[in-house]
């Protein structure tokens, strides 16, 4: 009897110690920080006509795969090493613990309201987490190379090999599957009740939320493409410099052209203009209805991160380290900011810019 108790105490003690170590190493399944994102805008739109000033610079723990500004105080960072954590934009430091649900890169994610959906192509996992409840809602295992994720109402859609899988967003339960004849080349683009995705053959495939296929659009784009959607309009550019603008709802090609040099970042659609970075430092604003070149700006070198728009200002991140602000209507340079290192990503906050460089430093301009 005595030895049984001793054995029990030792086992319990060991388990407790293990839990403590796991908790200390951030392996418990939550961020330990509650946020309610249901009412707050995800990113701001203050006009950045006046050059913002550097507020702080700080080192992140590992290379980020994505940085999402959640509200005016917080940004969410997902890393190549499978970590998820929050960053306090006011203090310039990590907020709460580092949660590492996967040991491999988080390859895709999607934020919808208070929920974060994320997947790992290597681990073959897709999970959902609720910021306000501070808990993991569900996790689907043993998927074959899960890809991009999108959420419409109560449905979560994700790519798995050549299939679009629809599931219940609340519990991840499988609902339906639709196969594509070829591989996916992009994430999902959603407009109203239509979900669209580019394939490696350069076509735009459209589906209803019930995964019924609509007439695909043959666009002949290269599989290395970048696209963005605004309203019903989707604009895409590829590594051969081809630029297309389509009406997603109507399934119509509105405009197609070929620009000088490759397009490595998604074009921006704003009002009547499509703005695109291409080649070695060119930024062109084109009216897709008339095909007229509205303005063109010549910068220095590669642009491989998305252009941003803040009111009437277009923010262009040149990979070599210069961020240039252009007047949306004229293309005139308003200001520029130089970082010392190659730009990895940037995002707009409610009143500034959050920049990550290749040395894993975050810079906040406000």
């Amino acid at each position: 009897m005595m030895s049984t108790n001793k054995y029990f105490v030792r086992t319990a003690g060991g388990l407790l110690l293990t839990l403590l170590v796991l908790a200390a190493s951030g392996c418990v399944g939550k961020l330990q920080y509650s946020i309610d994102l249901s009412e707050e805008p995800v990113s701001g739109s203050r006009d950045l006509t006046v050059q913002p000033v550097l507020q702080w610079s700080a080192k992140m723990i590992s290379p980020p795969v994505a940085i999402e500004v959640l509200n005016q105080d917080l940004a969410l960072i997902l890393s190549y090493r499978g970590e998820i954590y929050l960053w306090d934009l006011n203090q310039g430091q990590r907020q709460g613990r580092v949660w590492q649900p996967y040991r491999q890169p988080i390859s895709n994610h999607c934020i919808d309201g208070n929920r974060l959906y994320f997947s790992s192509i290597i681990d073959g996992l897709i999970s959902a987490y609720d910021f306000s409840l501070q808990k993991k809602l569900w996790r689907n295992r043993k998927l074959k190379a899960p890809g991009a994720i999108a959420v419409i109402d109560s449905l979560v859609f994700y790519q798995e090999q050549r299939n679009i899988v629809a599931g219940n967003a609340a519990n991840g339960k499988f609902i339906a599957r639709r196969a594509l004849p070829v591989d996916f080349a992009s994430e999902f683009y959603i407009s109203g009740g239509t979900i669209a995705v580019f394939s490696t053959t350069g076509n735009l495939h459209r589906f209803t939320t019930g995964l019924e296929p609509l007439e695909p659009l043959s666009l002949d784009l290269d599989q290395s493409l970048s696209a963005a959607i605004t309203g019903d309009r989707i604009a895409a550019g590829d590594a051969h410099g081809r630029l297309v603008v389509c009406d997603l709802a109507a399934g119509q090609l509105i405009y197609a052209t070929k620009l000088d040099g490759p397009i490595y970042t998604s074009p921006l659609i704003n009002d009547e203009l499509v703005i695109c970075a291409h080649g070695s430092g060119f930024v062109s604003a084109i009216n897709p209805e008339s095909g007229e070149l509205q303005w063109q700006f010549q910068g220095q070198g590669l642009v491989n991160q998305p252009l941003l728009i803040a009111g009437n200002v277009i923010i262009v991140p040149f990979a070599r380290g210069r961020i240039v602000a252009l007047d949306r209507l004229t293309g005139r340079e308003l200001w520029h900011h130089d970082t010392e290192y190659v730009i990895r990503s940037l995002d707009l906050t409610s009143d500034g810019l959050l920049i990550a460089d290749r040395r894993n430093r975050l810079h906040y301009l406000r």
């Binding site: 190549y80 192509i121 070695s280 220095q300 590669l302 990979a319 380290g321 010392e340």
Partner: protein, 941 residues
Amino acid sequence: MNKTQSVKYRGGLSVLSLAIIVLLPVVMTGQFYFGRNKIQYEDFDWQVLETEHFYLYYYTGEEQLGQVAAYFAEEAFGELELKFNCTFSRKIPLVVYSNHIHFQQTNILPYHIPEGVGGFIEYIKKRVVIPFNGNMFDFRKVIRHEMVHAFTHAKISYVSSDIGMWESPNFPLWFTEGLADLWSGNWDSQAEMVIRDALLYDHLYPLDSEALYRAGFLLYKEGQSFLGYFEETYGTDDIRRLMEDYWRYENFEQTIKGVTGKEFTTLMLDWRLALKKQMAEPLQQDFVIGNGENQLTKTGTNVSPALYYDHLGNQHLVYLSSRSGYTDILSQSLDVDDRKKKTVLKGERGAEFESLHITQSGLNVSRDGKLAYVTKSGQQDVIRVVDLATRKEITSFSHPQIISIRTPVWSHDDAKIVFSAQNFNGLADLYIWTVDSSTAIRLTADIYCDSDPAFSPDDSAVVFVSDRGREILDGGTDLFILDLATRQLKMLFKDEYQEKYPRWSTADQQLIYFISDRSGTPNIWSVRISDNEPRHIVQLQQLTNVHTGIHDIVPLAADSLLVSSFQEYNFQIHRLPLSEFSVSTPIDTTFSRSTVKGWSPPTIPTTISRKKEPYKLRYSLDLAQTAVAYDPIYGVLGGAQLSISDLLGNRYYHFLLTNTAQTSGDFLGRFNFAVTMVDLTGRSNLALGIFHFANDYFDPYQAFYFERTYGIRGGINYPLDVFRRLEFSGTFWYSYKDFYFNNTRSTVLLSNFVSFIHDNSLWYYTGPIDGWRLRLTIGPTIDLKKSRLHNLTGLIDSRYYLRIRQFVTFAQRTMIWINDGEDIRRYYIGGSWGIRGYNLYDIYGSKYMMFNQELRFPLAHSLMLNFSRGGIGVSPIRGALFVDAGNAWDNERPDLIGSMGFGLRGLFLGGVVLRLDIGRHTDFKTIDRDWFVQFFFGWDY
């Protein structure tokens, strides 16, 4: 000695050897026990030009070249940034040398740089180092090639670092070099020639085969060809994806499958099939040069044929040949019945004939039998003139400002030699040397690359090749005639191709033969010059359609030529009767002379060029490592090493810090440290260091003891030439020894060592096969406290390799080591590298002598285990018959003991030599009946 003692001994040695590793490089940087020397002939005045993405290092005299290099580098950066979808903000150091001879003096790589190296990137400090060969198109291509390496490395490392991989994966060499060739220039006729030959003679190796890694240049071209096919089939983006997505897959083959959907082996078959289809049509039309009585050479690379008539009027062929492994000048009769080869000159074995630049320099024989050839001698090339009848050197030419010399050609009056040369600034121009004088006249002086000159039949003009007629740098070259009286320059014709090697016909003075790649590979064409026709119309005629290609030509008679042609991955010399070819109809080519204007050297805009300043010594890290070890006798041993150097690799500082304290009280007193400064700037390599060591040691003569030493050490290496050097080193130090039995000793010692080293050996895969190596060392240590000799060390290590046939060598080694006095070292000479058949520790003493004889011969091509996913094995395999003799002793010299037997040597995985010896022991009176079998690793002695 029993086993326990030997373990302790090695344990005790570990700390000491760490110190020796740090101290000995004092004078050994770039030099080793043997080895050739890198000599700093020039004292370059280095400058730095900062541009947007580069720090450009150039020296006074090559300012223009520096500007052009900066332009090419920035141009490449802009283009490759887009291709790779990757950039970097750290500036790349780009070091430019105005010629290859200067480039070979760089200290950025510590070892001797072979002539075939056209530039390199060093990955620790990401330094790109490029020589200029006189041709701007080549210069641009090499800069781009190295920049592709820089981007490939950055792209792969970025992804690895993002994913958190400990180190970046090694992409196959064929991929990195093939990509560098693919994205640095177009597929040219040289690449076409190499791939056609590989297909024709069935040595287009699978990309994952070991044989390809030993094939040198073929690896580059196969890689380029495969990736060209890949890019055409799947697009540039998929090449980029290979570098972006590799982390998703287990290996490179899986990555290829993941990106393309096809197995790598299937893709390779598709590529080979595409190549074969592409070659099928030209092969039907083309002439395949092959074995037969017209083939004059068969082994090695044989180029630069020249004709020589002896006093009886017999025709002889004189040429450059690598059949021995070195480059020699050979001669042979053109008579079919007498093809015996005679050696005119043995090159690359001594300081006067350091290099004969086999495929570049050329040679020529005058009508009166004087041979003119080029050899590198010290800091520059020299033209040497030898009387072929007496084999004696008559005269020579060199000039301090002329560094590299190519293609000397005699005038028809045997009085002058025209040649092309690169001066100190790097410019490649034409010169005429009047052989009786010591001066040369410069015919051209500009940025354009002028080469391959030859006199007209009346010696009034020179025909040559130049890129001066191109509007842009496109790699094309044209033929020009320079009138020597009026200095008027005339372009013969203009096209988009590469022309080279013009030679006037011996039978028709209006006809010039030349080599052109108009037909896809280099072949012989002729151009008829006539003053009666309008000057902008010339008549061209293709004379040969050799499937692979032709390197150089000598008109033999009206209807035949001597050529060196590419065949079975080598150049061979053939007599080529033109009647064997279906000669094409002459074609009139029209060009407008008004459009003939040369390109301008590009210079970097001032908006990109930021500042120029003299080079300053700024040190950065080369090596930092720490180690902690536990030894049951000595406890925990730990230490750190650090090495820093300047960007040009001229100055090094090595630091060592360890502590062997066993108790806290010992901590301060048991610090071991050494600081060594090495200066490689000048011809003499200098080193100076201080040290302090306090350790427990075991020595077979003194058992366990504690020793504290501190002092200073200095050294000088003076290279006499590339093959010979003198080494001096001296150490002045205090030594305190505690033998633990109330027995201590303190003294002040001074050691001096002098060594002479010679090495001109020629290496094969498993070890040396020709030449000789010698090391003589003597070193007294003097006890200054007692004013007497403390100990004396002397050694003779001589290794001679007698070549019997091309791959059969008799190797002889004599080693005599003597160590006498106090604090002496014990040597162990058993084992695979000593006296074979004995264990390492079986034969030992403070003195020894050893004599090894070995007959080395080829045995088998390979022994492979082939699996479905590739093979693994040993290749080549060589045999050895050996007799070893020797012994070691402390006081009285014992009788000789030895062994005899046979062995096998094989190269495993392309880099490790496996050694198996089977034999019998002997005391040279009787031979043991038992056989021993000994297996080890390492090169032959």
